[in-house]
Amino acid sequence: MSAKNYNELTPQEILMLAIDVEESNGTRLRTFAELFADYAPDSAALFAEIADEEDQHARQLETAFERRFGELQRTVTEQDVQEVVEAYDLDDGEHLVFDDLNLRRALKIVLAAERRAEDFYRRAVEGATDPELRELYRQLAEFEDGHVQWIEARLASLGGSA
């Protein structure tokens, strides 16, 4: 199946996609948490914590989906969409990333993913012609924006700017 553009998706599929994105991020973050457990324990703990958050978000979205559309069928995953919605990722490809990672940098990694997701949904708002779809995108963007604010607040608590 060739990857779709996000504006080809129905509201139901968008919610499925959002659920899959949250779950996938939980998996990624757990991998990072394990990878950095010895090297940067505080960052690893953050990754593990956010992974739990992502799982919880996925369940919230699942519940929302079931309320609106009935039983969740996973016919759309992030692999089926051309764009990258939100993917927690390291910001360095070299082994030295193990050397430089600290809590601030880890939070910035998390923040980058959240901002990217918010950016994705806001761009989707602009491109959507269906009012219902536009509203769904807007609400998902706000959902992500809540995450952004939360991470920014944690960064601010460390001192300095995000």
Binding site: T10, Q12, L15, S24, T27, R28, T31, F32, E34, L35, D38, E49, D52, E53, D55, Q56, H57, R59, Q60, E62, T63, A64, E66, R67, R68, G70, E71, E78, Q82, E83, V84, A87, D89, L90, D92, G93, E94, H95, L96, V97, F98, D99, A112, R115, R116, E118, D119, R122, R123, V125, E135, R138, Q139, A141, E142, F143, D145, G146, Q149, W150
Partner: protein, 533 residues
């Protein structure tokens, strides 16, 4: 929407179509909290306070950049190459002959002829290997030497308990069954300073290493021993990443190489849940170098073991051909100093080993002359030149450039490290210029020792009596001049690219780079003077 289902949940509003996702999420949150079921988060859930409507997109976060400039996917052009790299036995088949030959050299060092030019260890390693490495393998193969390097052979074996196969399993984050050490390398040593010091130390004893087989034997035994012990204590290739002096300079000069191992699509990597290049999989071992292919943008720390080619579940890793000197960004002081050290040592080697200065040779050959104070002075001069003099000259040029650039101020540290990259093409080509006469003048010794590897009077291939025959020695200075000029040209072109990446204003970039360009020209003149002396 036609496929909407009526809400059957009794506690919820009757008309779900009019319920916003935010409301539903709030309800879902409440429900999850009340149930107290699978919520594992210790902290309160992300706040979802009412937000002002739709903000514009945030431009801070750009999608992952795909590489710019031309690249040729060698796996697509030569499918056989991909099939070879995907073979589980790929690295083993390359390393094994190298390991056997390497340890045969040890026998030669212990029991063979004690004079360097009659011993196969010296002639093959320090003449032939060095020539091939610096003239062909690094510029055209990046860190391909690390693919076949015999030094970590035993360490890898200890960690994997396999020579060819891969062991799926779970060891910490790794999805492989790993043995050996799992400790993290001390934080303060997570850089290449030890490699810098190691290479500098080896260079001080270069005259000894190239004339006394037993000295080379001791140096290699220490390296093999360290690689093995490190694998038993620390995880993955800690020795290669942080200690191996050869790895250090390969790391620097691989930036100029015309090949790179990279992911084909950054988006595929971003969406990848497994991160198998880092963690390993049923198909391949976790990257022994700790390289994460999704974000790899330089050759420096990729040892080209090709495990990621095998472990990637998306078949998203490929080998690319690219222009010379594509990676242009040094990142830390330790890398900048590596460039300084290598630049100075290219000159020192040429003066000491090939130059007409007998008194310098005498100072360096402490074991022959017994002149310890002379050797100490020689060593001190080299250390000061590598660690202080050239960095100060560089700082002066960079500082002058910063002043000339005018209003647009870039941090001095950024300029210092950024412009140190210019020493990569200059230094690499200087090493190539040094290596040509090494081979052209002394290459005939290689033919001799191949026939008589132990210096015991054998004549295995009929070349033991091949006379010392320098090849076109009168042409050597012209070749060296041409090579050094190519190095200077690339340094200027790439240095300007660095300047443009640091300054927004083209004119400021040019003014900033001008003093660096002058000192690069001066450096090349010094090379020319000593190389052609």
């Amino acid at each position: 929407m036609s496929d909407e289902k009526p809400d059957t949940t009794p506690t919820e509003p009757a008309n779900p179509a009019k319920t916003s996702i935010t409301d539903m999420l709030a309800a879902a949150r409440a429900e999850t909290a009340n149930l107290g079921t699978q919520s594992t988060a210790k902290k309160p859930t992300v706040p979802t306070k009412a937000k002002p409507p739709s903000k514009g997109p945030k431009s801070k976060v750009a999608p992952p950049a795909e590489p710019t400039g031309w690249r040729v996917d060698l796996f697509k052009v030569v499918p056989l190459l991909k099939r070879l790299c995907k073979l589980r036995s790929f690295q083993f088949l390359l390393v094994l002959p190298n390991v056997l030959v390497f340890y045969l050299f040890f026998i030669s060092a212990l029991y063979g002829h004690p004079v360097g030019n009659q011993n196969i260890l010296i002639m093959i390693v320090w003449i032939l290997w060095w020539f091939l490495l610096i003239v062909f393998l690094v510029p055209f193969g990046s860190r391909i030497w690390c693919t076949v390097c015999p030094l970590p052979f035993f360490g890898d074996w200890i960690q994997r308990r396999e020579l060819v196969g891969v062991r799926p399993g779970k060891t910490g984050a790794f999805k492989n069954e790993m043995h050996g050490g799992s400790r993290a390398w001390p934080k303060k040593l997570r850089n290449i300073w030890l490699q810098n010091i190691g290479f500098l130390a080896m260079a001080l004893f270069s005259a000894l290493l190239v004339t006394r087989p037993i000295a080379s034997f001791v140096a290699f035994i220490i390296m093999v021993g360290a690689a093995t012990v490190f694998a038993m204590i620390w995880r993955l290739r800690t020795f290669c990443n942080y200690l191996c002096p050869i790895s250090g300079f390969l790391s620097l000069y691989s930036m100029a190489a015309t090949v790179e191992l990279r992911s084909e699509s950054k988006d595929v990597c971003a969406k990848c849940k497994d991160k198998a290049c880092l963690t390993g999989s049923e198909g391949g071992w976790a990257c022994p170098w700790g390289v994460y292919m999704a974000k790899l943008d330089r050759n420096n720390y990729c040892g080209l073991c090709m495990e990621c080619v095998k472990s990637c579940p998306h078949d998203n890793i490929s080998l690319f051909a690219r222009p010379f000197a594509t990676d242009i960004h040094l990142k830390h002081y330790d890398e900048a100093w590596k460039a300084f050290i290598m630049t100075v040592l290219a000159m020192v080697y040429s003066i000491t080993l090939l130059g007409p200065y007998g008194w310098v040779k005498d100072l360096a050959n402490v074991t022959w002359t017994g002149n310890v104070s002379g050797f100490a002075a020689y060593s001190a001069c080299i250390i000061v030149a590598c660690l202080v003099a050239l960095p100060l000259l560089h700082l002066a040029a960079v500082g002058a450039g910063r002043l000339l650039a005018g209003k647009e101020k870039v941090p001095l540290k950024k300029l210092f490290i950024g412009y140190a990259y210019t020493l990569v093409p200059v230094g690499l080509l200087a090493w190539i210029a040094f290596s040509f006469p090494l081979m052209m003048v002394n290459g005939s010794y290689v033919l001799q020792v191949v026939s008589d590897p132990m210096g015991w009077g054998w004549n295995l291939f009929g070349t033991a009596e091949f006379p010392w025959t320098p090849v076109l020695p009168e042409v050597v200075p012209y070749i060296q001049t041409l090579i050094l000029m190519i190095g200077l040209l690339y340094a200027i072109l790439k240095g300007y690219e660095v300047a443009r990446s640091l300054y927004q204003d083209r004119s400021a970039a040019l003014r900033s780079f001008a003093p660096v360009m002058v000192y690069l020209c001066g450096l090349t003149c010094v090379y020319l003077f000593f190389f052609t002396a």
